[in-house]
C-alpha cells in the first residue's frame, strides 16, 4: 500500500489491493480531541473486495459497480467509459460543454483550490482527495484518447496513464468522494471547477454505463419518476401522512389546520422534500402553522412529483434531472399557481431555480422562489409576531451550499435568526464561504457497506468541527441545550447521523433541526414549546 504523500495521478492504475488508506484524520476540537471519542473505520470485508471496487480507499460508494466476470466484460466497461468521455465533449453534452472544456483546458496546477476542500483538510491532506487529483486523472485519459498532442507526444503533454478496469472503476468511486460543494471553485484564480469534473465522471457512469449508486438512481430518481417520490410515498400515502400531521398539529398546538391540497389558482405552491413527511413531519407542520397564521394563499400538490421537490439527477445525471424538473413544473402548471416556493431542501432549491432554469422556457415554466425571503418578509413586516425569549438557547446556523454558495441566498435566514434567537452565533466561516455538511451530492443518503463511515468521519468532519467551535465552552456543558439550525433536508440527515455517530446529542445535549421549527417555537401565539428536544417529539 502506498503512502498517500507519494501518490501521483497515474498511480490510479497501479495493481495494488488498495491505492491509499485514510491513515490520518484532523484532530477535532473540544471533548473530541481525546482518543477513543469516535468509532474506527471498518476494514473492507473480503466479500466486498471480490464484488465491488474497494481498491481505491477501501470504501464502497457505488454499490452497482461490480467486478466483471470475464475479460470481455472488462473490455466493454472500459470501452463504454471512453465512449462516454467522448460524449462529454460532443453535442450530447451541450448543456455543460463550455464549462467542462474550460476546466479541462486551463488548469495551471497551482493547487490554490486544495486548501478550500474540507475532505482534503479532514484527511490531513491525503493526496487522493486533493481537488485536482481526480480532474487530472480524467484530463490524462482525455488527452490520451482525444487530443492530437496526447496521441503524438504522450507523456510529454501528460497523456501518461494506463486505462483499464481498475483505473476507471477507481475513478468512478473517486467521483463519489467529492461533495460537489464547489468551495474549491471559489478560490481558483482561473475560475475552474473541479466539482464539475467529478460530476462529469458520475455522468459518464450513469448516462453511458448505466452505473449509479442505488439510493440515487434506482431507489432515487427512478423511484420518483415511477411513484411520484424518491421515498416511494404515493398520493394515497401522502394524504394519510398529512392527515396525521394535521392531527399532531392540533394535539400539540391546539390549532385546527386543514393543509390546503391541490388548490387551483393559489398564489403559492409549497413543495417539500418528501423525506420531511417521514423523518421530520414537524417541518411541514411548522410551515403549515406559519403560512396559515400569516394568512397566505397557498397549497400543496398531490400530483405526480408535485409533492416531492427532490431532484437527485442534479448529482449524477442530466436526463433524470430534466425529467423530474419538467414534471415538477407541470404539477405547478396544472394548479395554475403564481409561483413555486421551495421548502427546506438545499439541492431542491438549486435544481428547480437554477439548474432547471434553462431546461425549458415560456409557458412551460412557473417562477421559482425560496421560502427564505418570504419568511423574512413575514418577520420584517411583523405579520408574524415572535417572542425571542422562547428561543433563549445557543443557536448556530449551517448554510446549505446549494442555496447559499450556489444561489446567493445569504441574508434572509440570518436576519430571521437574529430576530428570533437571542443567542444566535455564526459558524466560522459562514455565508458563501461555508463548508458543506459532508452529505452533499448524495452522500447523505448513500449507506452502502462502509460508506457512511467515510461521510461521518471524513466528509462531515469539518462541519462537526465548526459546530463544536461555534458553541465554544457551552458545547461540553450537557445542561445547556444547543441547536444547529440546518434549513435543508439533506444537511439535517447528515447532521442527524453525525450526532448519532459521535453521540453528540446524548453526551452534550446538542440538537439539530430546521428554521421553521424555531420560528413556530418563538411565535407569540404558541402556548406550549414547539421544540421539546425529546426523541420522537412529533
Amino acid at each position: 500500500m502506498r503512502k498517500s504523500a507519494d501518490l501521483k495521478p497515474n498511480d490510479i492504475s497501479k495493481p495494488v489491493d488498495q491505492l491509499i488508506q485514510v491513515d490520518s484524520l484532523k484532530t477535532l476540537p473540544g471533548p473530541y480531541s481525546k482518543d477513543g471519542m469516535e468509532p474506527d473505520f471498518t476494514e473492507p470485508k473480503e466479500a466486498w473486495k471480490s464484488k465491488y471496487c474497494t481498491s481505491l480507499d477501501g470504501f464502497v460508494g457505488i454499490d452497482t459497480l461490480v467486478r466483471p466476470s470475464s475479460p470481455e466484460e472488462e473490455d466493454e466497461f472500459v470501452r463504454k467509459f471512453i465512449s462516454g468521455l467522448e460524449k462529454v465533449f460532443a453535442d450530447s453534452n451541450n448543456n455543460f460543454l463550455q464549462p467542462v472544456q474550460l476546466t479541462m483546458d486551463y488548469c495551471a496546477k497551482c493547487n490554490t483550490c486544495s486548501e478550500a476542500c474540507h475532505v482534503f483538510e479532514a484527511t490531513n491532506h491525503n493526496e487522493l482527495y486533493r481537488p485536482i487529483y481526480r480532474s487530472e486523472v480524467l484530463r490524462k485519459i482525455y488527452k490520451k484518447h482525444f487530443t492530437t498532442s496526447g496521441k503524438l507526444l504522450g507523456s510529454v503533454v501528460g497523456a501518461d496513464i494506463d486505462v483499464n478496469w481498475e483505473s476507471i472503476a477507481r475513478l468512478g468511486e473517486l467521483a463519489y468522494r467529492c461533495n460537489l460543494c464547489r468551495r474549491c471553485a471559489q478560490t481558483c484564480p482561473l475560475g475552474l471547477d473541479n466539482a464539475l469534473m467529478a460530476r462529469e465522471i458520475r455522468k459518464i457512469f450513469s448516462q453511458e454505463m448505466g452505473i449509479a449508486p442505488t439510493p440515487l438512481h434506482t431507489k432515487g430518481s427512478m423511484l420518483q419518476l415511477q411513484t411520484g417520490s424518491s421515498t416511494g410515498i404515493n398520493k394515497a400515502a401522502l394524504l394519510d401522512m398529512l392527515e396525521f400531521i394535521e392531527e399532531d398539529i392540533e394535539e400539540k398546538t391546539g390549532r385546527k389546520i386543514k393543509i390546503p391540497m391541490d388548490k387551483k389558482g393559489a398564489d403559492i405552491l409549497l413543495t417539500h422534500n418528501a423525506g420531511e413527511f417521514m423523518a421530520w413531519p414537524e417541518n411541514p407542520a411548522a410551515f403549515a402553522i406559519l403560512f396559515e397564521e400569516a394568512g397566505l394563499d397557498w397549497t400543496l400538490s398531490s400530483s405526480m412529483i408535485g409533492y416531492d421537490n427532490v431532484n437527485y439527477g442534479l448529482w449524477y445525471d442530466d436526463s433524470q434531472a430534466k425529467k423530474v424538473a419538467l414534471q415538477q413544473f407541470q404539477a405547478a402548471k396544472e394548479l395554475g399557481v403564481r409561483r413555486i416556493i421551495i421548502g427546506e431542501c438545499g439541492h431542491a432549491h438549486k435544481a428547480a431555480a437554477v439548474s432547471a432554469d434553462r431546461m425549458t422556457s415560456g409557458d412551460n415554466k412557473v417562477p421559482v422562489e425560496s421560502f427564505l425571503p418570504l419568511l423574512w418578509e413575514l418577520v420584517e413586516t411583523k405579520r408574524l409576531k415572535f417572542d425571542p425569549e422562547k428561543n433563549n438557547f445557543p443557536v448556530t446556523l449551517h448554510d446549505p451550499c446549494n442555496f447559499v454558495r450556489q444561489m446567493g441566498i445569504v441574508q434572509p435566514q440570518r436576519n430571521i435568526l437574529k430576530a428570533i434567537c437571542p443567542q444566535f452565533r455564526e459558524m466560522t466561516p459562514h455565508g458563501v464561504n461555508n463548508y458543506c455538511c459532508g452529505g452533499g451530492s448524495g452522500f447523505a443518503i448513500m449507506q452502502s457497506q462502509n460508506f457512511a463511515e467515510f461521510r461521518n468521519k471524513v466528509s462531515a468532519r469539518k462541519k462537526f468541527e465548526q459546530i463544536i467551535s461555534a458553541f465554544g465552552d457551552e458545547f461540553e456543558n450537557p445542561d445547556i441545550i444547543k441547536y444547529v439550525c440546518a434549513p435543508c433536508s439533506n444537511c439535517k440527515g447528515t447532521i442527524r447521523d453525525m450526532f448519532e455517530f459521535y453521540e453528540a446529542t446524548a453526551k452534550f445535549n446538542v440538537h439539530y433541526g430546521g428554521l421553521v421549527e424555531l420560528m413556530v417555537n418563538a411565535l407569540v401565539s404558541q402556548k406550549e414549546p414547539f421544540l421539546t428536544f425529546e426523541e420522537d417529539e412529533f
Partner: protein, 283 residues
C-alpha cells in the same frame, strides 16, 4: 527582412489564433447555469455574495445589475491577480511579479514604437526604464515559479514536461532578451531596431538578438495554441460561467438563445438504457 517578416507574422498569428480560440469559446452552445457566489454584478449584494433570489417575487421586479461592480472585479483580477492573492499568497508573489513584468514588457513594446515616431528624450528614457523593470520582474517571477515547481512535491507531481517547457520557453525569451537588448536599452537604441522591424527593413542585429527574436516569434506562435492562452479562458470562466446568473424570463435574451438552440437538437445520444426511456430528453 526575413526576420522582420517572421516577427510580424508571429504577432499576427498571436492575435489571429487568440481571436480564433475566443471565437470558439464564444460560439459554444448555451450551458446550464452554474452560478457561484459572490457574483460581482449583483448590485448591493456582491459584497456578501447575495443575489436577486433574496427577494420575494424577484421574477416580477426589475433586476439590479452593477456592471461597474463586474468591471471593478475584473480589473482587480487583471491588475492584481486578486484571487491568488487572497487564496495562495506564496505563489502570488512570483506569479504577480511575472505577470506584471509581462505587462511592463507590453508597455515597453508600445513605447518603443512611439519612440520611433517621437524620439523625445523623456520618451526614450521612459521606454528604457519600463523595459528594464519589465525584464527584471518577469525574469524573477518566472525563475521563482519554476523553482516552486521543481522543488515542491505537491506541484511537481502534477506538472507535465510540456508545462515546464512553457515556463522555460518564456525564460529563454527573457534571458536572450536581457542579453541582447541590455546595451541598446541603456543607450536608447532599441527604438531603431523596432523602427527597422516595423518598416520591414533588413534588421541590423547581431546573433544574440537574432536568437532572441526567433524565440520571441516562436513564443508568439505557441502561446495561443497552448493553455498559456488563459487570458482568453479566464474571461469565459468568470463572465460566461460562474457569474452568468441571468434568469430565463419570458422575453429575455436567454429565452431567445434557448429557443434558437432548440432548433438544433443534439444528434449524439447517450447509451445507458434509462436514457432512452420515456420522453427523449437526451442531453
Amino acid at each position: 527582412m526575413v526576420l522582420s517578416i517572421y516577427v510580424i507574422l508571429s504577432v499576427l498569428c498571436f492575435i489571429g489564433f487568440s481571436s480564433y480560440k475566443a471565437w470558439k469559446y464564444a460560439t459554444m452552445p448555451m450551458h446550464s447555469r452554474l452560478d457561484l457566489y459572490p457574483v460581482p454584478k449583483e448590485a448591493g449584494r456582491a459584497e456578501y455574495g447575495g443575489s436577486y433570489y433574496e427577494e420575494t417575487e424577484w421574477w416580477a421586479k426589475p433586476r439590479k445589475v452593477s456592471h461597474l461592480g463586474e468591471i471593478k472585479d475584473m480589473l482587480m483580477e487583471m491588475l492584481f491577480i486578486k484571487k491568488l492573492f487572497q487564496n495562495q499568497r506564496k505563489l502570488w508573489w512570483p506569479s504577480y511579479s511575472f505577470h506584471l513584468g509581462i505587462y511592463f514588457l507590453f508597455a515597453w513594446t508600445i513605447l518603443l514604437v512611439i519612440s520611433v515616431a517621437w524620439p523625445a528624450t523623456f520618451i526614450v528614457y521612459l521606454t528604457s526604464f519600463v523595459g528594464i523593470v519589465g525584464f527584471i520582474l518577469a525574469f524573477v517571477g518566472n525563475v521563482v515559479l519554476l523553482m516552486h515547481r521543481v522543488f515542491e512535491q505537491d506541484l511537481k507531481k502534477y506538472t507535465t514536461p510540456q508545462e515546464y517547457f512553457n515556463l522555460i520557453l518564456i525564460l529563454a525569451v527573457l534571458v536572450t532578451g536581457i542579453y541582447a537588448w541590455s546595451g541598446s536599452m541603456i543607450s536608447g537604441q532599441a527604438g531603431q531596431t523596432v523602427g527597422q522591424l516595423i518598416s520591414l527593413q533588413a534588421l541590423e542585429v547581431g546573433p544574440a538578438l537574432t536568437i532572441h527574436l526567433v524565440l520571441l516569434g516562436f513564443m508568439f506562435f505557441y502561446i495561443p495554441l497552448s493553455k498559456m492562452n488563459h487570458y482568453i479562458g479566464k474571461y469565459f470562466t468568470f463572465h460566461k460561467v460562474l457569474w452568468d446568473n441571468d434568469p430565463n424570463l419570458p422575453g429575455s435574451k436567454v429565452e431567445q438563445d434557448l429557443q434558437e438552440a432548440a432548433a438544433n437538437p443534439p444528434k449524439t445520444k447517450w447509451s445507458a438504457p434509462h436514457m432512452n426511456e420515456g420522453r427523449d430528453l437526451n442531453a
